[in-house]
Amino acid sequence: MKRVLVIVMLGLLVFSGLVLAQEKTKVVFWHAMSGTREALIQRMVDNFNLTHPGIEVVAEYKGSYRDTLNAAQAAAVAGNAPNVLHSFEVGTQQLLDMGIFALAQDVIDQYGVVIPWQDYLEPALNYYKIGGVQASFPWNSSNSILYYNKTLLDKAGVTMPREPTFEDIVAISRAVINAGVAEGGITWPMHSWFFEQWMAELGANLLNNDNGRSGYATEINLLDPAAVTIMNWWKQLYDEGLWINPGRESWSQARQNFTTQRVAMMISSTSDVNLTQNAAFDGGWEVGTAFMPVPLGFDRHGVVIGGGSLWLTKGHSDAEMKAAAEFVVYMSQVAQDITWHQSTGYFALRKTSLQALDLEGWYKLHPNYKTASDQLAESQISTATQGALSGVFPDIRTYIEDAAEEVYGGASVTDALTKAKGLIDQALVDYKELMGG
């Protein structure tokens, strides 16, 4: 009897030892990509889990960028933040101020993971570099480009230059409407992001204090000639019926206007290349891309990095931190960078990726994917194109979009911008005070 007991006990010990030895390190990854991108991420995560025994990454779609950030805040307060968080670029200052994230460079140094930063596109790195230290891992980077319906433009007898001007857009819009081939000339989501991109293109800092990068910003430059020019152009396009309003921050509505050929042109993120090409194929028309338009008489300064990056949270065990770091490194590798780029349109972050695709002639067959990278490569390096850093970006975007709506409703551009500036300046000062800056 005693013998049986001993054998059973030994068996249980060995069994539990085996079970313990096989416990995987769990890494929780929250992201903000829905639809086909969510499926794509899941495939990439599955591949990682397959090739990295001992680590199990669990990916969760948490909603929009704002929802994901809110979920992260709530989790941080409750004490169970995810290991890896995907956040939009304008959340950067907030994430830094929350104090719950480990800086990317610190993680790399501490856990000895390898990331060849020199192989990355500099503007993408620079956006997320704070005080010379890499704070997060760039992941889905984009900028805005101009999409156009080649078929409709041909029917109207106009062509799109590689680097159009505001005046070109107005002329082409009028041509397609007069030729009766489209209801409207152009559309884009009524979103402050585009305003921010245009400010950079025109070489203007959105905020003071070097765009919020040398200290907490206290003023927004909404009365800068660049800002007034942009808003006046928006007003002109709306008043003349050349721009169709898809609704506030309505990305899918804008895409729909374009893919159903209601309008001949669309300005949107480069991450829509894959989507629009599929829609064009289904609809039997051809889609082309071009750089962001600038007004005549203004130099073209370049675009700001949009999209998001990956952040690692502090306060986990060493094993979890290392596993999370390995996962982020994996997602940044050339193979994954190329997969992500080709399946969406977010541009390739690694110079090696660009070289490989060039060498293999892929860009010759799919030129639309290259437009954003070219636009970025030709961007000047300045604080304007580095992008603004602020903890009150949600406020900024709300008030700028309010101003645009007021302008469409008939208010004067200067009045609307002055009102928005007053509200935003107050919010900036409040935030700086709250952070003790």
């Binding site: 809110n70 805040q73 941080a76 907030q94 101020d97 104090g99 903890g391 406020d395 952070m435």
Partner: protein
């Protein structure tokens, strides 16, 4: 009906679960709202700064906030008046003994069971200016395509209509129950005395319905101030240019989008005091006219 308990402890014990839940989910958050309204807070409380009454002062001197308050009152008036009158009319008709009355009554109650997000999405698909069914039909028949969400007045109309529609079921159920409690003999007696249908309704039915109507008045008001949030979020997001930015939506935006938890808490306190004030006012005025007793 009174119950007699042997000791004091048992009733307290029985009440404890309810008190605990109420405490956790109602009273504690309420208290926290009051305390947070005196702070400037970010990141759900990870960063706070004591600012005293600054939030309240800023709100009451902000034309945008006062506009939001005005819009909410207009909105509430619309939802309450339209909601109660339309549902009373429907309830009167639904009270008749016709074939399939049961089916009609179930169908009338259905919209109430929808979640606000689903109801909002239905209305969005109907009234979306570019892709909606209503504009599709209107364009091909009458040739107009109104901009339901970009025009201020149309947007308000859209949200009010959707809100009224969503709550019709609730009102109809209560009115039907109230109507069925009106004793047939009283109506008959009035008829025999020569009263017209309208007089019957006004002088007999309505007073007997007044407890129900009063109850629904309060409930609809609470619904108009708080429960319409989902519809606004799906349909207009407070727009265009803050035309439908009712108080509850404004405070949601400040909390969950602008990361201003102190300011949002102050707004929730003001909204709370407002609705409590309106309710007390109703009890003092209209409440006096309610005719209780069979």
């Amino acid at each position: 009906m009174e119950s007699k308990f042997p000791s004091r402890r048992l009733p307290l014990l029985i009440l404890l679960p309810t008190l605990f839940v109420c405490g956790m989910f109602l009273y504690y958050p309420l208290a926290q709202s009051f305390s947070w309204s005196l702070l400037r807070a970010a990141f759900m409380g990870l960063r706070t700064l004591y600012v005293g009454t600054q939030n309240y002062v800023r709100l009451f001197t902000s034309s945008a906030y006062l506009h939001s308050m005005w819009i909410s009152i207009v909105f509430a008036a619309g939802v309450v008046l339209l909601g109660l009158s339309i549902s009373l009319g429907i309830a009167l008709v639904a009270n008749r003994k016709v074939r399939g009355a049961r089916i009609y009554r179930t169908a009338l109650i259905w919209p109430y069971a929808l979640s606000p997000a689903v109801a909002g999405t239905i209305w969005l698909f109907l009234f979306n200016p570019t892709a909606g069914v209503v504009n599709f039909v209107l364009e091909r028949t009458v040739g107009i395509s109104p901009d339901w969400v970009t025009s201020r007045n149309l947007a308000i109309l859209l949200v009010v209509t959707a809100a009224v529609w969503k709550n019709l079921g609730y009102n109809i159920v209560f009115f039907l129950a109230g109507l069925q409690n009106v004793p047939g003999q009283v109506i008959e007696a009035a008829r025999i005395d020569g009263a017209s249908a309208w007089r019957c309704f006004w002088k007999v039915t309505l007073p007997l319905l007044s407890p129900t109507a009063f109850f629904l008045l309060i409930m609809n008001m609470i619904y108009a101030f708080f429960g319409v949030f989902g519809l606004v979020d799906v349909l207009t997001k407070g727009g265009p240019a803050n035309a439908t930015n009712i108080l509850i939506y404004n405070l949601y935006r400040d909390a969950f989008q602008h990361n201003k938890w102190g300011m949002a808490s102050a707004q929730s306190v003001i909204l709370f005091v407002m609705v409590v004030g309106f309710t007390l006012l109703q009890f003092r005025t209209t409440g006096r006219k309610v005719h209780y007793g069979g």
